[in-house]
């Protein structure tokens, strides 16, 4: 959606100036590190709309062998890209006006894979979300929110090797709402009958 016509919006989209804050390797000189820190710190202070990187946790208890019609439907609804966006909007609007939501996609399949970015117009609203929505449930699942330095095109794709979230690479349990077993575990269980959704 073209945002440049938002007359009521903040200057948050100038986030493109803010380089992606990655881990810096020890090879950088001290001066460069300090400069990097100051640069990003300055922009974090300037940012008054902050993104929240949201990860949907799977439920602790594995559902081995126990899927029913209900769970199937639930999964379909949940992984339904469009339905998810509306729930997220409703929930996160409780802490302030949401500017936009960008759903995280599986890099290969281009379907929702359980995370998204929520952007607010003001920092205060994003802080409220961190205080009061983080750790509560959305669609029966506990969600976790984290600050994010800024959305850039390309960041909406999962960075796991199989295309989804990194956490789903290593997951040991079976969770039908998250595609069954974790990707690595799937490779070790070739004889298991899996439902294909």
């Amino acid at each position: 959606a073209s945002q440049q016509l938002d007359t009521f919006s903040s200057t948050a989209l100038k986030l493109s100036l803010c380089s992606r804050v990655g881990k810096f390797d020890g090879k950088k000189t001290e001066r460069q590190c300090v400069a990097h820190k100051i640069y990003v710190k300055k922009h974090i202070i300037d940012i008054f709309s902050v993104l929240i990187f949201l990860i949907v946790y799977h439920k602790r208890s594995p559902r081995v062998g126990k899927f029913t019609e209900d769970i199937l439907l639930n999964f379909l609804k949940f992984s339904n890209f469009f339905c998810h966006c509306e729930q997220v909007h409703e929930l996160f609007s409780k802490s302030g006006d949401v500017k936009r939501i960008i759903i995280g996609l599986d890099k290969i399949k281009k379907t929702a894979c359980g995370f998204c970015f929520v952007e607010y117009y003001t920092r205060g609203d994003a802080e409220h979300a961190m205080r009061f929505i983080n750790g509560t449930r959305l669609d029966d699942r506990i969600i976790r929110t984290d600050w994010d330095a800024g959305f850039k095109e390309g960041r909406q794709f999962g960075r796991g090797k199989s295309g989804g979230q990194v956490r789903d690479e290593y997951r040991q349990d079976y969770d039908p709402a998250r595609g069954g077993y974790g990707k690595l575990a799937q490779q070790h269980r070739p004889t298991e009958v899996r439902n294909s959704f």
């Binding site: 009521f8 974090i44 509306e86 929930l91 409780k94 509560t136 600050w147």
Partner: protein, 824 residues
């Protein structure tokens, strides 16, 4: 040598205090001193929640930080008794007075102001210090008075109350002489004799005096009963002549049964009267100083300097009056300790302390919940009931809750987690009681109840005994109870999906289930071929799918006949409802898949939409079509209207006119209408504030530039530019304010028209005016005043002259008069 001894003392003292996992007070003081809060941004500092984890690993090395930590943590859970901790801490601080006096003074003044729930712990500490060092006691009192003056100057009235209460409790600790405290109270009460001041000003001074009496009434009466009697009778006289027009607007229920909704000063007065009758015996407040009586009574007391309350300033913002919320009484807690009566002073003290705890810790819900549940003296009271009542009291407070609504939801969830065996039942009981009294509940409070309940259910798998509420199915669906259930289910659906809601309610509730949120297209297939716009809808749809440019699409649309126009009047520029209908229906149909698709569509075709809707009628019709296609999906309507306003396709007044139009009359009582209206007003307000801020910033810049000018001749150009910019911004502010005023005028005008129509019709038909529609209407009018009172204050003059004149029906005028009474 001394230094090492001090360190040793610290160590042994610290070892006696089990380091709590969360250091709420410490973090709080840090926050209050302008340090970091518990929520940290991004990767530079440790990501995620709690500051305390960092504190623990990087232990404060400086003595000063240690002092602060020690002082803040006294009174929290510990292996030793509170008395021995206080004794130990007093010793440590006394030893440090020579070197760190100002720091200790500062910390103690801060805890007096910011940790009111631990009032008596700190007054005891000050008492012990005063007993050991008379001069320090005197300096502390002086520092407190200075702080009191500062808080009053800066409109920090709730903090000022805590400071005065602290001073009054110092009488109990033999730090301050009782007669001087009485003198201060007398000065406060004399404010009631002032003329031409807002009532809220004298209210506040009376409130301060009354709210200190549970702590110090006994002591003051023992020393100065004649003066106190005179004081109380003065207060009584004032309370009798107070104007109470504002009370109905602030009451959560309009009925007095089962619990009257008392105005806060009236309730407190009744409580103090009862306390007096009980000869000032107060048994609830924790008073550690009693254990130190032998030490403290040896101490020399100080006199408070004469304190004249600062005069009234025009920009003073006194606290608004409020109504005491009661939902429980002693009959409601089935077993265990009895709940103190509504006019007992214990009730006041408990509620006051619980409010203080929430005020201190609201930003950190886990800490807040833990602190609430570890309330000292909890074994003698039904604590869960008090907590639930206080939380709901804040949530339903009018005009607005002290903190953001969603905080209360998560706090209650946290409390349920910590007390899974008892609190959920109390909460369910409270919900049941609130449901039963819906018929007389204020509409604004019902809105908040709907939002709270649906959000709460979404965290607990939507489990609820809906059958218990099947009585709502037997009455007119417009009545408050079925309406409430309907709106709750709609909100629940927004947090899940339609089938889920169908599954969670019994089949008997099917009439209350929200509609499946699907798009309603006028031109879906050949069945619509008889409609005038059908052929064009196919053309436009293909054009969009083939990525035609805006000009191409506009050309295509030129062919759409205008049902309003004469054939020979061919300008093609005027309002063509069919054009709008065809384009918007087709576009939104193609984008119906999700929010993102629809936003994208509105953004891409922004120019066309602006062209089509370039008149007031155009804007209105655009919104009408939007409603037609998405009438089953109110959430979508709300977000699209928001986008249309932000991209200036429609203006705020157009949205207001649309919501009040005849076409939307059948939806007038639905919650989503009012959410859209209030969101629209808020956007308008934020817009004005933003431009005002830009103007202020430009003015500041100019000032700075003018200072520089004296030193550097070259900056004259910049100054000129700045002055131009300021002029432009000034115009922008004026035009924005004019738009804002117009918006309120439109809204109030439409309200008056609708409500007057209803009242006249009822009068001529000799029918009772109080229909569910009317209750909703008049309370929605109230809601506009309450939710935007700060902004509306600016336009009172215009409103009074143009709209709320004496000719208005007295029912409607009453709302306006109650609003005016809020700040008088």
């Amino acid at each position: 040598m001394e230094f090492f001894i001090c360190i040793k003392t610290y160590k042994s003292y610290e070892n006696t205090i089990k380091k709590p996992e969360l250091m709420p007070s410490f973090t709080l003081l840090k926050a209050a001193h302008g340090g970091q809060t518990g929520v940290f941004p991004g990767p530079i500092v440790a990501p995620g929640g709690q500051a305390h984890k960092r504190r623990r690993t990087s232990e404060p090395i400086e003595i000063e930080d240690r002092l602060e930590s020690l002082i803040c943590r006294v009174g929290e859970k510990s292996t030793s008794s509170l008395e021995s901790n206080l004794e130990g801490l007093a010793g440590v601080l006394e030893a440090d007075l020579p070197n760190y006096k100002s720091k200790i003074l500062r910390i103690l003044c801060a805890v007096a102001r910011l940790l009111p729930e631990k009032l008596t712990v700190y007054t005891t500490l000050v008492g012990l210090l005063n007993a050991r060092n008379y001069n320090f006691g005197g300096e502390f009192v002086e520092a407190m008075i200075r702080q009191l003056k500062e808080t009053l100057k800066n409109n920090l009235y709730s903090e000022a109350v805590y400071l005065v209460r602290f001073l009054s409790d110092l009488v109990n600790c033999h730090v301050i002489a009782a007669p001087s405290m009485v003198a201060m109270f007398e000065n406060f009460v004399s404010v009631t004799q002032e003329e031409d001041v807002p009532q809220v000003r004298s209210d506040w001074f009376v409130y301060v005096v009354l709210s200190c009496l549970p702590w110090v009434g006994k002591e003051l009466y023992e020393k100065k009963d004649v003066e106190m009697d005179r004081l109380l009778s003065q207060i009584e006289g004032y309370l009798k002549r107070r104007v109470k027009t504002h009370v109905p607007m602030l009451q959560v229920w309009t009925a007095d049964k089962p619990h009257p909704q008392e105005e806060y000063l009236d309730c407190l007065w009744a409580q103090i009267q009862k306390l007096k009758k009980d000869r000032w015996q107060e048994r609830h407040i924790l008073r550690p100083y009693i254990a130190f009586d032998s030490v403290l009574c040896e101490a020399l007391q100080h006199n408070l300097p004469p304190f004249t309350p600062p005069g009234h300033m025009p920009d003073a913002q006194y606290p608004m009056p409020r109504v005491i919320f009661r939902v429980f009484d002693y009959t409601d807690a089935p077993e265990g300790p009895v709940m103190p009566g509504s006019h007992s002073v214990e009730r006041f003290v408990i509620e006051e302390n619980l409010h203080c705890i929430i005020k201190t810790h609201w930003k950190e819900r886990k800490t807040c919940a833990a602190q609430l549940l570890s309330y000292p003296g909890k074994n003698k009271i039904p604590l869960n009931y008090h907590i639930v009542e206080v939380i709901f009291g804040e949530l339903f407070q009018l005009p607005s809750p002290p903190h953001i609504d969603v905080m209360y939801t998560t706090l209650l969830i946290e409390l349920c987690k910590l007390q899974p065996g008892s609190l959920p039942q109390v909460l369910a009981q409270a919900t049941e009681m609130l449901y039963m009294r819906l018929d007389t509940m204020n509409t604004t409070c019902i809105d908040r109840l709907i939002n709270w309940f649906s959000h709460h259910l979404s965290n607990f798998q939507f489990r609820w005994s809906w059958d218990d509420w099947s009585d709502c199915l037997t009455v007119d669906l417009e009545k408050p109870k079925p309406k409430f259930v309907k709106e709750v289910l709609e909100k629940c659906m927004r947090l899940s999906y339609h089938q889920r809601i169908v599954d969670i309610v019994p089949p008997t509730f099917s009439a209350l289930i929200p509609a499946d949120p699907i798009f309603t297209y006028k031109y879906p297939d050949e069945s619509a071929s008889s409609l005038p716009g059908y052929p064009m809808s196919i053309t436009v749809s293909n054009a969009i799918k083939n990525r035609a440019s805006n000009e191409e699409i506009l050309t295509v649309l030129k062919e759409v006949p205008n049902p309003n126009q004469e054939d020979d009047d061919d300008e093609g520029e005027s309002f063509n409802p069919l054009k709008i209908d065809v384009f918007l229906q087709t576009l939104l149909n193609l984008a119906a898949k999700s929010f993102s698709h629809s936003f994208s569509a509105l953004g891409k075709f922004h120019e066309i939409l602006k062209t089509l809707a370039n008149s007031d009628e155009g804007k209105l019709h655009l919104l009408k079509v939007l409603y037609e296609v998405w009438r089953n999906h109110p959430q979508m309507i709300a977000v699209l209207v928001d986008k249309l306003i932000r991209t200036q396709v429609v203006d705020c007044a157009a949205v207001a006119n649309w919501l009040f139009s005849q076409d939307m009359a059948h939806e007038f009582t639905r919650l989503f209408i009012w959410e859209i209206l209030h969101s629209t007003i808020r956007k308008m307000n934020k817009h004005v504030q933003k431009i005002q801020k830009e103007l202020e910033e430009a003015k500041d810049k100019l000032e700075k530039q003018q200072h520089k000018r004296d030193m550097d001749k070259n900056s004259e150009d910049e100054e000129g530019q700045l002055e131009e910019q300021i002029e432009r911004l000034q115009e922008k502010v004026e035009s924005a304010q004019s738009e804002q005023k117009n918006l309120f005028l439109v809204i109030f005008q439409r309200f008056i028209m609708l409500l007057t129509e209803h009242l006249v019709r009822c009068e001529t038909g000799s029918v009772d005016i109080s229909t569910p529609w009317y209750k909703n209407g008049i309370e929605r009018l109230q809601q506009i005043f309450l939710m935007h009172h700060a902004t509306i204050q600016q336009y009172m003059g215009t409103l009074e002259n143009l709209l709320f004149t004496a000719e208005l029906d007295h029912h409607i005028l009453a709302v306006y008069q109650q609003f005016c009474a809020l700040q008088l």
